[in-house]
Symmetry: C2
DNA sequence: GAGCTTCCCTAACAAGTGTTTGGTAGGTTA
DNA sequence: TAACCTACCAAACACTTGTTAGGGAAGCTC
């Protein structure tokens, strides 16, 4: 029993357009358990390198038994990624709709991102590694759409910030966007929940570097 | 003929411990051509998702024919990654041995990194995606070793910088290291050679953000 | 206890995988 | 012309892959 007890209560929506075949009527809690182990293996080995037999092994059952809960290996990643993105965007929209200034928006987005990494480490890692070639398939079109929303959100905050003078005007704004986006999300590749730093602490340090740079400033004045 | 003419002259060492089977005596130039196309496919689709038939297709020949030049799919990635790392470390050692100050060392390392991305985009992308689970195999132990050298080089420069006061003392140095390392290398996922920005230009912008931050400084004074 | 549901197992399938073996067209050397 | 080498093809091999079909054990309801 490698998986042991895993009782994370997450309010995933899952089952989007799932009235097509649905094996029988599996319990949602068991589904989430299995998805959690699957996500762990996917994140560690990569999606294509992971066999359904390996997942079943880790879950303490045989490969065929997985198909009582899911109708394909593909629908497993699908559900993993879509539930993650749903929760992510719930958090993001809350930030974007709060009427914050550009700098505060960036700070809140970064902090929220690290919280999501803390909660969905495996899903984030999968998203980073696989989204590029998964999004080629029409089934995963929401990955591309999510990327666009991402870009709008970040670019918007950066542009407003430059316009209001709280961000430097001499920077390539698209480069800065990619810079921010990447620096935040790659953290999922080394971050381990329960480590020394809390997500908020990591966010604080990251923001410190991104906003002020790693060289010392003469006077550190912030109202 | 999808590959057309590709005549990049690189002084790869390749063929490390290759006196074990070596199919026959393939010409080194053809090897490099094929490795170039293979690297392109690996970077685009991922190593495991790439079939040897796909590589052969892209090279305009049949799958079995590849085995005249290489003895396995694995040895293809091996050669791609090891030749890249060899060249990378040649450049890095040149920087590290130049007796530069901490800030100049960081600047030079970043610039050199973007030059390597420009030259070995595909290899860097592969390295990023696959090194984690490739390094589990003893054959790819040099990946782990390279990672350690990386850490030593960057951490050393950062520590010296903090000691000399050219870098902020209030930052978690390991976080800063991962921050720097990641921000530089993830660029390989979106960088396209021949684009708007030269490697040096991108390095300049990145360094500007990393060193000074994205918020404006009151006085910009640098001797 | 009959019937039903939930959850998993056993055993197989077809397709796709990396790899091998033997052959051969074309050029170079003798 | 004969022998040889390079670079590829054609066809198959053994194995792994995701997936399916049928069955059965435990627990609940009536």
């Amino acid at each position: 029993m490698p998986n042991s007890t895993r009782t994370r209560a997450s309010t995933g929506n899952s089952a989007k357009k799932s009235e097509k075949k649905t094996t029988v009527s599996p319990s949602p809690e068991r589904r989430r358990e299995l998805l959690s182990t699957a996500a762990e293996v996917f994140a560690a080995q990569g999606y294509n390198a992971t066999t359904v037999r390996r997942i079943a092994d880790e879950a303490g059952m045989l490969a065929g038994s997985l198909y009582y809960h899911f109708d394909s290996k593909e629908s497993m990643v699908d559900e993993i990624l879509s539930t993650f993105l749903d929760e992510l965007w719930a958090g993001y929209e809350a930030v974007l709709g709060a009427g914050l200034g550009p700098r505060e928006t960036v700070e809140a987005l970064v902090t929220e991102s690290f919280r999501e990494i803390d909660r969905h480490r495996a899903a984030v890692a999968i998203y980073q590694k696989e989204s590029k070639h998964l999004s080629a398939q029409p089934r995963f079109g929401y990955l591309t759409e999510s990327q666009r929303r991402f870009e709008r959100a970040w670019l918007g905050a950066l542009e407003r910030g430059v316009a209001e003078g709280v961000f430097r005007a001499d920077l390539d704004i698209r480069l800065a966007y990619r810079f921010l986006r990447d620096t935040v999300w790659v953290a999922a590749s080394w971050y381990r929940p329960g480590g020394q730093h809390s997500p908020e602490e990591i966010a604080r340090q990251y923001l410190s570097m991104v906003l002020d740079g790693i060289t010392p400033r003469e006077r550190q004045e912030r109202p």
